[in-house]
């Protein structure tokens, strides 16, 4: 019997690809947060780390494309999995009591994910495009001190702050299921250590987005 047509064509293979890209993004988020949070207590450190990230060729031409690939793979797989899953039950239940057996977050990953995707589009428009324009189109001279002022200016706008806060609430909801789910997909679950992964996952899912919200609010309040 022909048993398989490639690991990533199977349901488990797609789960594993989803989990790997999720774990990569979880690690990236820690790095992103660590740099951003320095803007609340040391503008010099924030400027110097941002300048390093924005000009280092390894970060710019290796890590950044890997990150773009990871993000794209994660949401494209998310769409594919959701479409296939919706198609696995053509006739829907008249009554389906989802809350009896599962969390809202776990059943609505596509909606929290779509909100995060919308935010990423906004974040790219807001940050990445001006950055590319500054460095590669207008070719303005490198200025190691500009980053902190740019952040201050951005968070002066309350609409932007509201979008950021809402997005990180959705990110928290997404992570509350996604963190432990990525470990489960990789097969990392046993009664001894999985409760610790779940606890750490909950902490991470609340603290990291809360930290990003704090940064946005900090700069907004400071700008008043």
């Amino acid at each position: 019997m022909s048993s398989q047509s490639g690991i990533f064509n199977s349901s488990i293979g797609r789960k594993i690809a989803m989990a790997l890209s999720a774990l990569f993004l979880i690690i990236f988020l820690i790095q992103h947060f660590t740099i951003n949070v320095t803007s609340t207590f040391s503008p010099e450190t924030f400027n110097s780390w941002s300048h390093f990230m924005g000009t280092n060729p390894l970060v710019q031409f290796v890590l950044q494309p890997v990150l773009l690939f990871g993000v794209t793979l994660h949401f494209v797989l998310g769409f594919i999995l959701t479409a296939r899953n919706r198609g696995a039950r053509d006739v829907k239940y008249v009554r389906y009591n989802g809350n009896a057996h599962s969390s809202w977050m776990s059943r609505n990953m596509i909606w929290s994910g779509l909100f995060i995707l919308f935010f990423l589009g906004f974040h790219f428009y807001d940050f990445w495009i001006p950055e590319i324009n500054y460095k590669y189109i207008e070719r303005l001279p490198a200025d190691e001190t500009r980053y902190y002022h740019e952040v201050q200016e951005m968070f002066h706008n309350p609409v932007r702050v509201v979008i950021y806060v809402l997005s990180f609430i959705f990110l928290s909801l997404h992570l509350l299921h996604g963190f432990q789910s990525s470990f489960q997909s990789m097969g990392a679950r046993n009664p001894k250590y999985f409760p610790a992964i779940e606890k750490f996952g909950k902490l991470y899912s609340i603290l990291i987005p809360a930290g990003f919200i704090f940064i946005a609010l900090f700069h907004y309040i400071n700008s008043l």
Partner: protein
């Protein structure tokens, strides 16, 4: 106890179905859900109407034949219970109960509440066995030492009765809990290791062919399983599959 039942009626797999309302009265709290359905069918037969088709066999919670989505949950509101073991005392006088078939493309409706779960049989046929030489020199299975922890986990996985509640509960109609229980019950024992790699690949391949959805670790399957098969089995199957895919030639 007087109840209003909203029951899915569908003459056959190729005709569209719909919910029909029925009234049943004089239901005793000590009756099982299936006995309540028997009373409904007696009423229907007396009126010359077509009785509601539903699957059942042992009526003692061990065969896996009874199904039914009751008020939005497979096998009804009680945990670790099959429909045949669900008692009417779990409902109140005047309640309205929604009764639907287990819904998934992998479980096509045969009639009313009866669905075709032979997709599970085909998943088992794809690898849910061990090859044993029965030429007269068969080894006694008990002669092979098995660690107690593994024996217990294999036994727990083997308590899966293949009812399909996992598929019915899953928002993705995924059959991962069933397949993983059948993979685990053999993968955990020395006799099952010989064919472990091919087994997991063939069973997952068949599961995908049957049109079940992908697992997104929602966990509804384990919550609704009448035999409380745990999510650790799915994690074990993921590990087995990953390792088999990497090591296969």
């Amino acid at each position: 106890m007087d109840l209003t039942l909203k029951v899915w009626r569908q003459p056959n797999g190729s005709t569209k179905g719909k919910m029909e309302d029925y009234q049943v009265s004089g239901i005793d709290g000590d009756m099982s859900f299936l006995e309540m359905m028997d009373i409904l069918n007696e009423q229907l037969i007396e009126k010359g109407e077509d009785p509601v088709a539903f699957d059942h066999d042992c009526r003692e919670g061990i065969c896996g034949m009874c199904s039914m989505q009751i008020n939005g949950e497979p096998h009804g509101p009680e945990k670790a219970t099959t429909t045949c073991q669900l008692h009417m005392r779990k409902f109140k006088n005047g309640d309205t109960i929604y009764i639907e078939p287990f819904r998934a493309n992998g479980f096509p409706v045969v009639k009313d509440l009866a669905v075709d779960r032979s997709s599970f049989d085909r998943i088992i046929q794809a690898g849910g066995y061990i090859s044993v030489n029965t030429s007269g020199n068969t080894l006694d299975g008990n002669a092979i030492p098995v660690e107690k922890k593994n024996a217990d986990m294999a036994f727990n996985a083997a308590t899966c009765i293949g009812c399909g509640a996992c598929v019915a509960a899953c928002p993705n109609a995924s059959a991962m809990l069933f397949t993983s229980a059948k993979v685990s019950q053999l993968a955990l024992l020395p006799q099952g290791r010989v064919e472990a790699s091919k087994r997991v690949q063939n069973m997952v391949h068949q599961m995908d062919l049957e049109g079940f959805g992908n697992c997104s670790n929602v966990g509804a399957c384990a919550e609704e399983c009448p035999k409380e098969i745990s999510l650790e089995n799915i994690a074990r199957m993921n590990r087995e599959y990953l390792s088999a895919s990497i090591s296969s030639e």
